[in-house]
Symmetry: C3
Subunit: 326 residues, 3 copies
Amino acid sequence: MKIKNIFFKKKKHISLTQIYQILGLNKNLKKNTKIINIADLHNASSNDISFFNSIKYLNVLKNSKVKFVISEKKHLNIINNYCHPIIVKNVFKAVSLITEIFYPNSLNDAVDFSLSKVNKKKYTKVEFGNNVLLGKGVKIGKNSIIGHNTLIESNVHIGDNCIIGNNVLVKNTIVGNNVRILDGSIIGKKGFGFFPDKNLNIRYPHIGMVIVGDNVEIGCNNTIDRGSLSNTIIGKNTFIDNQVHIAHNVKIGNNCIITGQVGFAGSSTIGNNVSIGGQAGISGHLKIGDNVQIGGGSGVIKNIPDNSRVMGYPAKNIRFFLKENK
Amino acid sequence: MKIKNIFFKKKKHISLTQIYQILGLNKNLKKNTKIINIADLHNASSNDISFFNSIKYLNVLKNSKVKFVISEKKHLNIINNYCHPIIVKNVFKAVSLITEIFYPNSLNDAVDFSLSKVNKKKYTKVEFGNNVLLGKGVKIGKNSIIGHNTLIESNVHIGDNCIIGNNVLVKNTIVGNNVRILDGSIIGKKGFGFFPDKNLNIRYPHIGMVIVGDNVEIGCNNTIDRGSLSNTIIGKNTFIDNQVHIAHNVKIGNNCIITGQVGFAGSSTIGNNVSIGGQAGISGHLKIGDNVQIGGGSGVIKNIPDNSRVMGYPAKNIRFFLKENK
Amino acid sequence: MKIKNIFFKKKKHISLTQIYQILGLNKNLKKNTKIINIADLHNASSNDISFFNSIKYLNVLKNSKVKFVISEKKHLNIINNYCHPIIVKNVFKAVSLITEIFYPNSLNDAVDFSLSKVNKKKYTKVEFGNNVLLGKGVKIGKNSIIGHNTLIESNVHIGDNCIIGNNVLVKNTIVGNNVRILDGSIIGKKGFGFFPDKNLNIRYPHIGMVIVGDNVEIGCNNTIDRGSLSNTIIGKNTFIDNQVHIAHNVKIGNNCIITGQVGFAGSSTIGNNVSIGGQAGISGHLKIGDNVQIGGGSGVIKNIPDNSRVMGYPAKNIRFFLKENK
């Protein structure tokens, strides 16, 4: 399912000529080629621009309809088989530069000054606590409850029968029905992604959202960052305890149970029916299968196949872990 | 010490006939037997109903005065020796159903809409910051201080000479004298307990409280969940650092030192004079003795006897840990 | 660079006679010797009083100009070589007692009741969200932004072009230019330092500050405690993710990258260009060199030399860790 991004104003299109200029490239170009958007290979449409930075994504490249792909020299020949390569020295900096052109406001989202007190005539079927502030275009479904001092930034959608607790901050997020987000949680802040530089790290845009499925519960003092180019996703009926940190682009499946103080580094994908014990950590860019059980305190640094039970640091088959530690 | 639960309205009594109906059981019953409350075996009085789900609690069963005990078939003969068994397929679901009947409001406690601005005439010996909201029936002792933006929900008791910081949320909690609860902490939220279900997890009532002893300090951004049927307890003069998570039913003794980012899974009991280093995790349903020292980063998955020093994941005698890791 | 402490009112001076009285010592003294301040050996000037509690600091002692040094009997002969020893049973209790005399308000800083709504005439070049409260003497540079519900306590300095998010609490802190402190973070609270005592732990004053360098980013729901006698320092261009805990007196260098849920125990020093993976923990009083990389989930319990890559619990050379765990 593709959900329209309603949080960041996008330029209608940029010409390919302009993109080459931004990237400092100089080439004979078909004039007037219009690029509509920038997206990762999973999501790019035929008139978008995308990028390829690891052979891991070869199959995605093969199946993509995208015509222009940013990459490094070493991938030139591969890409030539499928579409038009745009070769740069640093793929991520190039992507960042173009994203910033498409989404000019995406770097300045720290505080939403359009927030104001609730206009109760507009939300007749919602119950609000004191000192709630809402941004423009916020939608909240019927029979939902918003706790005291909570901030909901512009264009956030919250479904029916939801409970948003006290002191919560929600931004750049689409919340399903029957969801609970408990006190002190911060949902939809930009991720911890930037280009390190000795004098002044360079931030790049995070134009993704957080998508929270129906029947989810998010505990207290959690931080769930929005995606950079893709979205951060919490699947249906997944329950999350307190003080959990979920970094940008993480995708968690349905019916998962995530216990207190668990942390997810960026861009990992977690299957359905996964349970994770307290304080476990999941490294970035991993794939955790369905029905996986991860013991408390584990440090997961490799992919985990479906139906596995693991524990330890680094995490291994739980029988080995317990045997080695008798 | 038994502290009266002032947070959840209880029905005066339910008939045993009604309980059998709720559980879908069909039996010839002495009519008119009134059950006053539901409680665990430690706390159940003779006219209450209780439950037995592990042979670990045999001694507690033997010494209990309770007459009706919910359990599974495999425990039938044991229970018959001491009281009247009520046999069900799933003890916890049965307990949950009955708790909900006794405490009909206990599942809807996410936001207290009775909160309002401080009536300073009522609290003449308390100093309040800006934007403090108090629920009905809140008691605060003399010379106590409540910081800015703090929320104290209905019926919470706070003793004398306490300091509650800024942005704190306190609910379902009894706080002793000379206690400090620092900024951003959330005390008394329901625990992370529910019945997993593929389509819609089922919440059960958490009717316990948090009991905070005299002279306790609770640091910033902590989460301390209230008990489900019993209480979460922080013993006298125990000091807790920042970002600690304490799950439901945990009982921490006196004079403990709990360092930053430690996590406790549910229902563990910690002795007196226990010190726990940063980021250590304590699994659920464990018993940690008195005078135990747990090194930073440890993962404790077994009971620990009095006077031990442990470290590691899983935690072991600290000498072994250091020797193995020279 | 020595930064003047603007947060705690200091008595102009105390006589040495008075200091001996406070410590319960009885000696023939040169009358009228005035002591100006108490400081650690690194920072003490010739008219201050300092303390010596470990042979580790011998070189610092040698190079110090301080004339009076509190210590224990076992160090008497060493100190006699360089300055005048004041011998006590418990160095830290003695230091605490004297600090409290010099800084009489330093133990009561939990809530700043001088906070009030923003006087926008005073801060014409700053943009404020709703419900912001500022203390007395707060300075905020031009083009800075302060989010909703944020509290900035008395005498805090914030530089130009800063973004302070929503629900942030800043106290006893000096913030450079172009700094971001994101939502829910608590900066400058007192550290978790006290003298354990069976009946009533004894708090000691924390008169240090937090110093945040230019271009720093501090993520959401962090806790950064101020120093006790020295300062907690975050070096220039260091970026910190969410849910990180930094205890008192920690000094972090420039250009570091600290990922989510990392924890630092007190008084450790981190070099420049250090990167630390998620959930790693750094024990207290350690020295981590420049250009060090610490893997996610590591538990660092020893000093780490420059240019090392470590991982594991306890942390070791990353090649050994990966080899042992293949």
